[in-house]
């Protein structure tokens, strides 16, 4: 029995309405039937002008962007053109804020703004980068002063006219921030987002107790107060969102309806004015707090110290330094490789040495020796310890019970070195010895081991009682000081390649057993590198020697001695060839970038990175030489250079007791040398049969650290890239930088970094388009179930009808944009859903039920819903594509 519904179907609206508006109108119709009245759109008289509303927003955005940029730049004493920046930023803020004037300016304006922004970026690419580099250089300088760092990173400024470059960079960054601030201020009046955007960059200055000029702070404070007050009031909505010139938004709840006034232009102006006044007054009154006694260096706490560590890493190593897998502040790495993108020494003293300078050159202080290599790490395992117990360093005769007097009697030249540990790892014994070869010597030309460069470490002593004195401790600025003395022979007394009779066969077997270990998976990579380095050619220079030949040395046999001499020369020749290869093809840097987690550090260094610091060269050469059959071990410690000794502090003119018969360098007396963690070093030791371990320097010279390549645009792209920024290919920009302009091809080439983010965005868009219908259908299903659960059967039926209607419009009557119930049922009576007319009697119950659900006073009952839902479902099924139906059949 068809039911009759007395309420007429809703009238077709003349104006085109969006979905929200249609829902609002439907709700009002419902209210009219329920309450006999409804409250239409509340209005204000007279209505505020849109221009005024946008202008206030523009002022707020300008104050925020200029306040932030000005505060930041002025904090680091960079000058810029005030008229240009103020005018430029105000115009840009004005244009940006007026994007929200109406829908047209919003949708088209953003394209124009982004287009102009990109055009500006490309036109002034080098100026912007140079301004950024100038700023970063000033930041580095300030931070180096603050942290009392000895080294400073420095970016090469492409264009040196800082006044111009900083001005243009400010315009660029101000524009960038004004676009973001336009969203946070104009769009949402959101204080946290605005605060983060404008206040976080200022931390660069605040962190090192630089207080920006008060006027900029006033601007920012005024913006914060305005945004907080306006945001909470709710009267800030964008003009373009005002559908059909609405003055109020309407939010419906069950027991109350809230009508919020959208935009109070005069109220906004008044609030902004009061905010400015209040911030000026407050900052002037509170100005006394900006005093020097708040210098944070005088107070210490854990949080600041922790952040200090990160900040220092960042200052020294850049952004990638924050992603180091373990500490990178210098000192010993204990065989850990590849996890450090930048080595950032703190240049605090780790070791004190006291010695009498002689002309022996650099001194190595050996601490760690790694033998087994696995998972990017050299391990000081059991074999390494066994090898260290009888460390056959050049003529080593270490003994703890040797007395100085005994040495004086037995040797012509004996020296003493005193070592005190402050910051160095006290778990190691730092044993001094000299490198075998200087970087300029060629072992082949020398024909073996040079005689004058060998020395012996003879004995390690406990610290002398005098150094336990408290005053001496204080003079070092530390509470405890672990110190000991080492006696060594600064000059070799005997022939270099004289066989060492102390070396046992067991020791040599252990050396060959443990110090030729290479991970299997690395062998192809090492073979390729050895070929590229020409190591096989170097080995072939001694054709009489066969691989793996290892006969016990007989000192009395001339042939045996000659053979061992040739073997030594071959090994040193291969090492020298490798060293040349590194010197020519590789470069030294303290910022090589972190090795990717799934890569082996040696493989990555030899074939991809080709730049690194001492640990990279030492580890790679150790494995390469092992691959060539030369027992090698990886060593870490400290290196005291001749320059360090020259810069040392004389502590005593009397060198007596410190040496015996050794030649004192220009009567310098006893000199104290301080070694910082920056002096930590890695090198290798090569095993020579019958002789022992030879220290060998593989790291190429690094007289000056190259300028870092700071690029503002790659700063953003770095977030999307896995590869380290400081790779060698990144230096290509410098060529064009010299001209200050570059060409378009290069610029577009430089924008290649955008490909990945664009691809990600595109994929996200495709995924969204693919899954959105499914998502919509799922949410509709949930809504229907939810309505049923809460007994709101009217809503459930209407939701089902909406889905049916959408499909009907798409498949059958696309000309109907917003059909009423009557339109839909007239259409179905004429043509049905599949072209066959449906009798009106069949449709009447559904029609009346939907009308009741939409406009009736009461709710549909569960029985009615259960009766009508199958009808609607069957109609819906007939609208499905025929292909799908055939498939099912």
């Amino acid at each position: 029995m068809p039911r009759t519904v007395s309420i007429a179907a809703p009238k077709k609206k003349k104006i085109r309405m969006n979905a929200a508006r249609r829902r609002e109108e439907a709700q009002r119709e419902r209210e009219l039937s329920l309450y006999g009245m409804t409250l239409e759109d509340v209005r204000m008289e007279p209505r505020p002008g849109r221009f005024f509303l946008c202008l206030i927003r523009a002022i707020l955005i300008f104050m925020a962007s200029f306040g932030m940029m000005g505060a930041l730049v002025s904090s680091f004493k960079l000058s810029f053109s005030y008229p240009v920046v103020i005018t430029g930023l105000f115009i840009l803020s004005f244009l940006t804020a007026f994007l929200y004037y109406n829908k047209l300016t919003f949708y088209i304006g953003y394209f124009v703004v982004f287009g102009s922004f990109i055009a500006f970026s490309l036109s002034f690419y080098w100026y912007i980068n140079s301004g950024y580099q100038a700023f970063m250089n000033e930041v580095f300088n300030s931070y180096s002063d603050y942290f009392r760092l000895l080294s400073t990173r420095e970016a090469s400024e492409f264009i040196t006219d800082r006044y111009t470059t900083v001005t243009i960079a400010m315009l660029f960054m101000g524009w960038f921030f004004s676009i973001l601030l336009n969203i946070t201020i104009s769009g949402y009046m959101n204080l946290p987002a605005t605060f983060l955007l404008t206040f976080l960059p200022l931390q660069i200055a605040f962190y090192i107790d630089i207080v920006p000029p008060i006027p900029y702070l006033c601007m920012l404070l005024a913006v914060y107060i305005s945004v907080a007050v306006l945001g909470r009031s709710g009267h800030f909505t964008l003009p373009y969102r005002r559908e059909n010139d609405l003055d109020f938004t309407r939010r419906r709840k069950k027991k109350r309806h809230l009508h919020t006034y959208l935009a109070s232009s005069r109220g906004m102006l008044q609030v902004a004015g009061y905010s400015i006044g209040l911030s000026v007054l407050f900052l002037l009154l509170a100005g006394g707090l900006f005093a020097d006694d708040l210098d944070s260096r005088n107070v210490s706490n854990g949080v600041k110290n922790t952040t200090d560590r990160f900040v220092k890493s960042f200052v020294q190593g850049g952004f990638s330094a924050l992603f180091d897998r373990y500490s990178a502040i210098g000192g010993l790495a204990r065989g850990q490789l590849g996890g450090i993108g930048n080595v950032n020494p703190d240049y605090q003293t780790d070791l004190y040495l006291r010695l009498v300078p002689n002309n022996s050159g650099n001194i190595y202080l050996k601490a760690f020796s790694g033998v087994r290599y696995q998972d990017n790490c050299f391990f000081e395992d059991e074999a390494a310890e066994l090898l260290n117990t009888k460390d056959y360093l050049p003529r080593l005769a270490a003994s703890h019970d040797v007395q100085l007097e005994d040495l004086y009697e037995d040797h012509d030249y004996v020296s003493k070195i005193w070592i005190a540990l402050t910051g160095a790892d006290s778990g190691y014994l730092y044993r001094p010895y000299f490198p075998l070869l200087s970087s300029k010597e060629t072992p082949l030309a020398a024909g073996g081991i040079p005689e004058t460069k060998q020395q012996k470490v003879l004995a390690y002593y406990d610290s002398l009682p005098s150094f336990d004195n408290e005053e001496v401790m204080k003079s070092f600025g530390v509470d405890s000081l672990e110190s000991y003395e080492v006696l060594y022979l600064p000059f070799e007394e005997q022939i270099a390649y004289d066989p060492n009779s102390d070396i046992t066969v067991q020791y040599q077997e252990l050396v060959y057993q443990s110090c030729l270990q290479i991970p299997e998976e690395l062998k192809p990579s090492l073979e390729q590198a050895a070929k590229e380095a020409g190591l096989f050619e170097a080995a072939a220079a001694y054709p009489s020697l066969k691989d793996g030949e290892n006969h016990p040395l007989n000192p009395d046999d001339e042939a045996s001695l000659a053979r061992y001499k040739e073997l030594q020369s071959q090994r040193l020749g291969i090492a020298a060839r490798l060293k040349r290869y590194f010197a020519t093809e590789f470069s030294y840097t303290m910022s090589p970038g972190t090795t990717p987690r799934n890569e082996d550090v040696v493989d990555y260094f030899l074939h991809t990175q080709k730049r690194g610091y001492c640990a990279h060269f030492a580890s790679s050469s150790a494995l390469l030489l092992r691959y060539m059959g030369i027992p090698t071990r990886y060593v870490e410690g400290y290196m005291c250079t001749a320059t360090d000794i020259m810069d040392g502090t004389p502590v005593s003119d009397d060198a007596s007791g410190w040496q015996s018969n050794a030649s004192e360098l220009e009567k310098s007396g006893v000199v104290e040398v301080q070694l910082s963690d920056g002096s930590a070093h890695a090198w290798i030791e090569i095993w020579l049969d019958g002789y022992g371990w030879i220290p060998y320097e593989m790291t190429p010279p690094s007289d000056e650290e190259p300028m870092i390549n700071l690029d503002l645009f790659s700063l953003f792209s770095g977030l999307f890239q896995n590869a380290p920024r400081n790779n060698s290919s990144g230096n290509g920009n410098n060529a064009n930088a010299a001209t200050g302009t570059g060409n378009l091809a290069n610029i577009f080439g430089g924008l290649r970094f955008l490909l990945r983010p664009l691809a990600i965005l595109l994929c996200a868009l495709v995924l969204f388009l693919l899954f959105f219908p499914l998502y919509r259908r799922f949410t509709e299903f949930l809504k229907i179930k939810n309505s049923q659960k809460h007994g709101d059967y009217s809503e459930a039926l209407l939701l089902s009808y909406r889905r049916f209607l959408r499909r009907l419009i798409r498949r059958r009557c696309p000309e109907l944009k917003h059909p009423t119930l009557r339109d839909v049922f007239n259409e179905m009576e004429k043509e049905g859903v599949d072209g066959t007319p449906i009798p009106a009697d069949e449709l009447a119950p559904l029609h009346s039920g939907l009308s009741e659900a939409a406009y009736g006073r009461g709710e549909l009952s569960a029985e009615d819903y259960q009766a009508l839902r199958p009808v609607l479902s069957s109609l819906n099924r007939t609208l499905r594509p025929k292909k799908q139906k055939n498939k099912k059949r």
Partner: protein, 333 residues
């Protein structure tokens, strides 16, 4: 305590706490200044809001005396903030209803009262049903700038406005008259009185001025009113049978029929049925004003699910004769 302020208070305390932590741990002078500002801001905000809210003036204007359907009632709310401090968070709470219907959900108007300015807000009520429209504004809640506290200002703005039904086209009518008591003060069609004065009594509100016995009033000192003898006569008697289903049709047809009878220069009576005591009141109608009074009285009566007026009338006055029943859109005589 306004529950809406609680999230803002929590946010404020959280911000204060974070700023305090930042100031303590990072020891940045600006953070200390911001912390101080954050502590002072609520005081300033509350003081300014209190000052301005006490001086806030509000009025509600209704430009109509009555409205005929279809109609839109435009109520004007005027806020005047004479102080230099803008009040951005004024929440006006008002209710509106047609007495025949349940009340609308409480409406809240969140509006600013800009400093030194008279602001007018227009509330357009679209009316779809005849009846008595009632509007009341009870409270204004003014929150400070940070929404930490709300000042509640009690106000009492009320008015009622009758909404007249839209005229309808009447069907062809064949009406009969009923035998009911007449009131002598009501002139017959030829303008003559038909009965003598039965007694004099004290004035009661609602008595007509022309019934006042002026001489006796002057003599006694109290207002005395003449009460006439009543006589039965034949009149058209309209009985609106208002029930919930056909209420609006009933009112519309009743009003249109009443107007039509007045145009025909007919005096008639309207039988108003009081549900509480099942009694009837017979109101004489001889002019448009009296018809409106009948209508307003009708608006104030409660409505039954199904009207039992006719049955009650027959029970009470079985010899009343022809009654014109108005039942929904049907006129039965």
């Amino acid at each position: 305590m306004n529950s809406r302020n609680i999230p803002y208070r929590i946010t404020y305390i959280l911000a204060l706490f974070l700023m305090f932590l930042a100031a303590v741990f990072y020891r940045q002078s600006l953070l200390t200044v911001l912390l101080l500002l954050l502590l002072i801001l609520p005081v300033l905000s509350l003081a300014a809001t209190r000052f301005a809210s006490r001086r806030l003036r509000i009025s509600v204007e209704n430009p109509h005396d009555e409205l005929t359907l279809p109609a839109t009632l435009r109520v004007r709310v005027i806020l005047h903030n004479p102080t230099p401090f803008p009040l951005l968070n004024c929440c006006l709470r008002f209710t509106a209803r047609n007495l025949y219907f349940p009340p609308l959900p409480t409406q809240e108007l969140l509006i600013p009262a800009e400093a030194g300015r008279r602001m007018e807000y227009l509330l357009p009520f679209r009316l779809d049903a005849a009846g008595m429209f009632s509007f009341s504004l009870d409270e204004i809640c003014v929150s400070d700038y940070l929404h930490l506290y709300s000042f509640r200002l009690k106000r009492d703005f009320r008015f009622e406005l009758p909404i007249l039904p839209a005229p309808v086209t009447l069907p062809p009518l064949n009406l009969t008259k009923a035998m009911i008591e007449s009131e002598e003060s009501v002139p017959s069609p030829d303008g003559e009185l038909t009965s003598d004065i039965r007694q004099l009594r004290d004035y009661r509100p609602g008595d007509r001025i022309r019934d006042i016995h002026w001489k006796m009033t002057a003599r006694v000192g109290d207002v005395m009113v003449k009460e006439y003898e009543r006589a039965k006569d034949l009149y058209y008697l309209l009985l609106p049978e208002t029930d919930k289903r056909s209420l609006q049709d009933c009112i519309a047809y009743f009003y249109s029929l009443g107007q039509w009878l007045l145009k025909q220069k007919e005096n008639y009576r309207v039988a108003l049925y009081h549900i509480e005591d099942r009694s009837f009141e017979f109101l004489p109608v001889s002019s448009e004003d009296e018809l409106l009074i009948c209508l307003y009285r009708l608006y104030l009566e409660p409505v039954e699910e199904r009207s039992a007026a006719y049955e009650s009338l027959l029970n009470q006055k079985p010899d009343i004769g022809g009654v014109i029943r108005i039942h929904g859109a049907h006129i039965l005589s």
